[in-house]
Amino acid sequence: MSEITFDSGTAVLDLSYLLAAVLFVVGLKMLSKPKKARAGNLWAGAGMLLAMITTLLFHKDSMGNQIAWENAMLIIITIILATVIGWIIAKKVRMTAMPQLVSFYNATGGAASGLVALIEYGNPGNSSLMVTLLGMVVGNIAFSGSMIAYGKLDGWIRDWVYRSMKYINIFMLLVNTSLIVTIMMPGIDPSVAQTLVYILYGISLAYGILFVMPIGGADMPVVISLLNSLTGIAAAMAGFIYNNQAMILGGILVGAAGTILTILMCRAMNRSLWNVIIGGFGASAKPGTVQEEGIIREISVSDSAILLNFSQKVVIIPGYGLAAAQAQHICSELDRMLELRGVDVRYAIHPVAGRMPGHMNVLLAEANVSYEKLIEMDHINPDMEHVDIAVIIGANDVVNPAAIDDPSSPIYGMPIIQAYKAKNIIVIKRGMGKGYAAIENKLFYNEKTRMLFGNAREVLQKLVEELKGMA
């Protein structure tokens, strides 16, 4: 193994891995700059394609055999099939369903890592069993966890909180660890070890499910980001099996970047990562401990239109309700209409508005809202008191003043958009239901607040028509 014989195929392969690794780093770096992001994505994609092609052409196993043509054909057919399917899904999906889709693709990557590790464990040439098992466990957790996150975001899986969940999850982790230790024991019967590996495979899948199941509410973006970094780590572990630098670098790069992103998001919500994982948002919140009593003041569509028409500064605060109702296009139309009448319209974007950080920006960009009208929370808050009307569309927790003045609230300390400072507040909402975090919002009882009940798209549509009639 230690003797180095020159082999031009392997040299080309390693060179292409180096190039791919550089492209991953450069691509990721460019992805964090608005102007270069798109090119960055393409560069990273090119790096991946390069590594795939050269692996097919030049990879040799430990015996020095290249990939046989019938294997290559099978691989190419599989890749083409999956590319077509992945491409179509990615092109067809609605922009509002983007978070689910990212979660789904993350699940497929995790599943692939788990499967590769499962097979490679039985490979006699594999000298890194420990890392293989770790990769399998991490990949499986990312897989089943992402599928649950996908189901939750898509609305067909509900939060499931059970009291003893903390202990069950810790117990599951202990079982995972002790299984790995047992399998790694010297002198263990290989067939027993193989059986234990299958059990470990199943238990790590179950752990992923139990881990994400109770986490709900505002924490879903954090969880997706965390699972994303786990998939990266699993891929890197598999890189050890093959002594493959491109896999290790690509995987760990995503692992580290995903972890940082996760921490940034936690900070935006003023919560610790540990709190998210162990606490479970819904579990720690006792909904309705402080029942808000007060008067709800409704407003009609026509009154809202008049109010908007005669104001000077309007700030729209969008939330998931806007996305769920597919109201981004009509919202943009309302905005243009008001602009024509000399009203200054801007959007206040909370870092975790929607179901994923930056989700609102993507949606509004889709509806052709100009980029410079999207104002980040920290920049809009100092100006909020000069705003004539704050229009809150399907947002709830991100404008809840309890985050500032109610220490007993589960969202206490989370930075919010200070809509309550505006001179008037219009809240467009389907009903008096609570937000995703299931807590009362005292803003709705504020004397400056007027409620405009209805589906966001229908209400905005009526507002636009009303404004047209006023011309």
Binding site: S32, S113, N244, L253, A256, A365
Partner: protein, 106 residues
Amino acid sequence: MENLLQFFFTYRQEIFILVLAIFLGIEVISHVPSVLHTPLMSGANAISGVIIIGGIILLGHADVTRFSATMVIGVLAVFLATLNVAGGFVVTNRMLEMFSKKKIKK
């Protein structure tokens, strides 16, 4: 302890890469505006599909002349990893397309 040292020795180059890549990942991401969080997450997700290389190697050296569990799982792994890679890059591109449209007007 002996085992750990041996592991480190065998994989010292890989471990170097791993440790340096952690710092690189942190450095590359640290100043990203929240506007780009979703595309960035999605793009990073596509890169984590690098397990496709492992899938190709696995299936590439598997015995495909007869039907076996390894073959089936290998095909499945390549299929799933490709979904991750192709879908991930396309969806990221679609998101970013919307931003760049606006950029030109600016």
